[in-house]
């Protein structure tokens, strides 16, 4: 369905990926196949429990597939040794819904921890990083608009600011891919817009491929070139965004086949403005 970027080589290739939990009782991903070319901005939408996080976590080796293949940046992630996996992860940034920054550390130190993959030994304290790394981290903090908070403890920041620190840490990694798992799910709508802008703008500037799962479809539309919809672990929508996006089709993703299903009643339809 995606046609406009077909000429570039795929940077992420997922083939028939199936993942079950609890000895097969929960089928989180069901025969998912997709390929993402370098530089593409992909947004993944889907109901809660549809498998978005599970999919993203396969792409940096935090989950191992039950069956199927995952190739990222030319490496086969299935059965990759921990050393190779670590090396690969340096090139893959991950932005978490819950930020996953170290609250007790200063913003600068959190950002600098993004460079750990490039460094040899362990680091403790701002002064254990070289001056040039400190400068680099300060620049990244400036990019997300927090240059003035370098030495503030990160857990004293607001949620949106903490997520921006996490984004700066990811940028510090100099990754080729950024995986973002509902990066703004715990933020209010206005802050969400700012954070999404920071994330996508920086990735466009640095030519980073982005796969981002989201609930608020409208937030993605400004930056995304492609939208993938998941339902019950299956890909049910895969479309380029620059063509006129059919709201109906996007909304379909959020509907369950079984109208009596609990999730359908629990879940509020996402806002789709065009």
């Amino acid at each position: 369905m995606v046609t406009d970027t077909g000429s570039r080589s795929p940077i992420v290739e997922v083939t028939s990926l199936t993942k079950t939990f609890d000895n097969g009782r929960v089928r989180a991903l069901d025969d998912v196949t997709l390929s993402v070319p370098e530089g593409q901005m992909t947004v993944i939408i889907g109901l809660s429990g549809s498998g978005k996080s599970t999919l993203l976590r396969h792409l940096n080796g935090m989950h191992q597939p039950t069956s199927g293949a995952v190739r990222v940046l030319g490496s086969d992630l299935v059965g990759l040794g921990s050393k190779d996996l670590r090396r690969l992860r340096r090139d893959i940034g991950f932005v978490f819904q819950s930020f996953n920054i170290v609250g007790r550390l200063s913003c600068l130190e959190n950002v600098m921890s993004g460079a750990l993959g490039r460094l040899r030994g362990p680091r403790y304290g701002v002064l254990s990083y070289s001056r040039s790394l400190r400068r680099e981290a300060l620049e990244q903090l400036d990019r997300v608009g927090l240059g003035d908070r370098a030495f503030q403890r990160t857990d004293t920041l607001s949620g949106g600011q903490q997520q921006r620190v996490a984004i700066a840490r990811t940028l510090m990694q100099q990754p080729r891919i950024v995986l973002a798992d509902e990066p703004v799910a715990s933020l209010d709508p206005e802050i969400s817009g700012q954070v999404m802008d920071v994330l996508f703008r920086s990735c466009v500037e640095d030519n980073i491929t982005v796969l981002c799962s989201l609930h608020q479809v409208d937030l993605a539309l400004g930056w995304a070139n492609r939208m993938i919809g998941l339902r019950d672990g299956r890909v049910v929508l895969d479309t380029a965004v620059d063509t006129a996006l059919d709201t109906e089709r996007v909304m379909e993703v959020y509907k369950r086949l079984d109208p009596t299903g609990e999730k359908a009643t629990e879940y509020e339809s996402p806002a789709v403005h065009q």
Binding site: F99, V102, G103, L105, L116, G117, L138, T156, T170
Partner: protein, 573 residues
């Protein structure tokens, strides 16, 4: 071995999410009540067997009064040697705690489920923790004095070795409680394991590690005043000399000095702990509270530059915030103290470095190879030890429960009552139980009776504090409800407060029993009855088999009680 012991095992974390078993007579509930009732029965029987009752102290007032008369007035002679011994005592505690810290950190990591995947390794680490915790430092000192000869070194090693138990356990607990999110975030950047630990784990545990270690320093200072009783250096040597020479005024003088020092060290360590951890994380002691609230935490949120104040963007060095200054000062003081320890006391770093690796060998020698060390009287003495533990706990509880209510800010009838009660228990807690035992043995003669009384006094101070703290934590709602019905103050305490504190009361009591039995194992060293006396003899005569055999038995008893107490506690709290 002192009464003041480790905090309850992270009581609220594991316990509270279990449903309170108040409905129905489940097997658990029957077992629970069975244990509580047998606790009562055994306690009463042991009181009868040993011949003590809640009024014994009153009945024995003549003998004790006589002794106190002979002790009066308290005197301190040989000032320079008392001063040296005091320094030795403090440095012994300091270096011992430091040593324990160094050994406990790796052990804590090895024992934590989220750090060590390999279960057998974890089990070994847990085993070391359990063993070093169960053997009183006084017993370690007793053994080491025979190996390294009289002096500060065996004291340091004993404190270090015994400390690893509690430190390792609390360290492992606090490692297991870290948030996994930050670690996941660091790992996702491709960090190595060592980097993940330094960046994702260390920042989360450093403050609690420091606080735990300071707390242990406080405990260790109390025990280091006693180690001299078996020849391991410090002020206890003086006590032993005065006791042996019947120099009672000096005995009292040094005892009062020790109490003052213990209070002082507690105040300092509590304040430092509060500064480092913030008062929301640690129990702030009475004195801090009386002084008008705890000092602000060095890690408190308010210490960061206020929002909106731009830090100089060009600056690549962290500013000297209060937090940073505090940490640097803390490091500096620690370093200075270590240097002083090896220059001002008769402790030598060389001796320590050569002595430390011999410990496993010494302990190995203790493993009994045959059974001809066993004498049938040991069975009686072991039983006596356990009964002494029960008796002391029971006596302490009878007085501690009502006093606890007086010492709780929220239920005390008047502020002056609260302040008086708190000050009183602070003083009682500063009395090392073994010194009280020395005095009681001198007044009442050898045997379990003076031992139990001394132990009970120590436990009383400890228990009252635990209870008062628990009462201060009750919710106000139910009390207000009772008060609104027009109930009297006493009714309010009974109906609104007691039900709320009941679980922690029972839990704390079982914990006290655990502490009490540990304590009763060493009373015999000063003539207070129980298994301590043959231990002392075994060490004096270098009967390693006997010593080791008894240690194993003590370990088994203490560990069984601990498991039982822990099991019951988890079911009620």
């Amino acid at each position: 071995m002192t009464i003041i012991h480790e905090p309850l095992e992270k009581k609220d974390v594991r316990g509270s999410d279990q449903p309170t078993p108040h409905q129905g007579w489940s097997v658990n509930r029957i077992a629970l009540w069975g244990i509580v009732i047998s606790f009562m029965l055994v306690s009463i029987w042991s009181l009868i067997d040993i011949g003590v009752n809640p009024l014994t102290l009153f009945f024995e007032r003549d003998d004790i009064g006589n002794l106190l008369q002979r002790m009066w007035p308290p005197t301190i002679t040989e000032l320079s040697s008392v001063w040296d011994a005091t320094l030795d005592t403090f440095f012994m505690a300091f270096v011992g705690t430091f040593l324990g810290f160094l050994l406990a950190v790796p052990l804590g990591f090895l024992a934590a489920t989220n750090m060590t995947r390999f279960a057998p390794l974890r089990a070994i680490a847990r085993g070391v923790i359990v063993f070093t915790r169960a053997i009183p430092d006084l017993v370690f000192a007793l053994i080491f004095v025979r190996v390294y000869s009289i002096g500060v070194l065996p004291g340091v090693l004993a404190i270090g070795l015994h400390s690893i138990g509690m430190l390792g356990k609390l360290f492992a607990d606090s490692i297991e409680q870290i948030q996994t999110g930050p670690r996941e975030g660091v790992q996702a950047t491709g960090a190595r394991r060592s980097q993940d630990i330094a960046t994702g784990v260390l920042p989360q545990i450093v403050p609690s590690f420091i606080a735990i270690t300071l707390y242990r320093l406080d405990i260790n200072f109390r025990s280091s005043t006693l180690l001299g009783l078996v020849g391991a250096g410090g002020i206890g040597l003086q006590i032993r000399a005065y006791q042996g020479g019947l120099r009672y005024p000096e005995l009292l003088g040094v005892t009062l000095l020790i109490i003052a020092l213990i209070v002082l060290v507690e105040i300092v360590s509590t304040s430092v702990r509060a500064t480092i951890l913030g008062h929301d994380r640690t129990k702030v002691g009475l004195l801090t509270r009386l002084r008008g609230g705890p000092p602000a935490s060095a890690f408190a949120r308010s210490d960061s530059p206020p929002a909106g104040t731009p830090t100089n963007s060009a600056s690549l060095r962290p500013p000297w915030t209060r937090e940073r200054v505090t940490m640097y000062l803390f490091g500096l003081v620690t370093l200075v103290m270590l240097v002083l320890s090896f220059t001002m006391s008769d402790m030598s770093l060389g001796d320590m470095i050569t002595g430390l690796p011999e410990i496993p060998q010494v302990l190995w020698r203790l493993v009994p190879t045959q059974f001809d060390w066993w004498q049938s009287q040991f069975a009686d003495l072991l039983i006596e030890t356990v009964l002494m533990g029960f008796a002391a706990t029971f006596l302490a509880l009878i007085f501690a429960v009502p006093t606890g209510f007086l010492a709780a800010r929220n239920v005390a009838p008047a502020r002056w009552v609260y302040v008086t009660a708190r000050t009183f228990i602070l003083g009682v807690r500063a009395l090392p139980d073994l010194i009280v035992a020395v005095i009681f043995v001198a007044a009442l003669g050898l045997g379990p009776k003076p031992g139990v009384l001394a132990l009970a006094i120590g436990l009383f101070g400890f228990a009252t504090k635990l209870f008062a703290d628990a009462i201060e934590e009750v919710q106000e709602g139910p009390r207000d409800g009772i008060r609104a019905t027009g109930a009297s103050r006493l009714q309010e305490s009974f109906s609104g407060v007691l039900p709320q504190v009941m679980p922690s009361l029972v839990g704390n009591s079982l914990y006290l029993l655990d502490v009490s039995i540990r304590g009763s194992t060493v009373l015999g060293i000063v003539g207070g009855g129980g298994i301590g006396f043959p231990l002392l003899q075994g060490a004096k005569l270098l009967k390693w088999d006997l010593l080791g055999g008894l240690l194993i038995l003590i370990f088994l008893i203490v560990y069984t009680i601990e498991l039982l107490a822990g099991w019951v506690r988890r079911r009620i709290i």
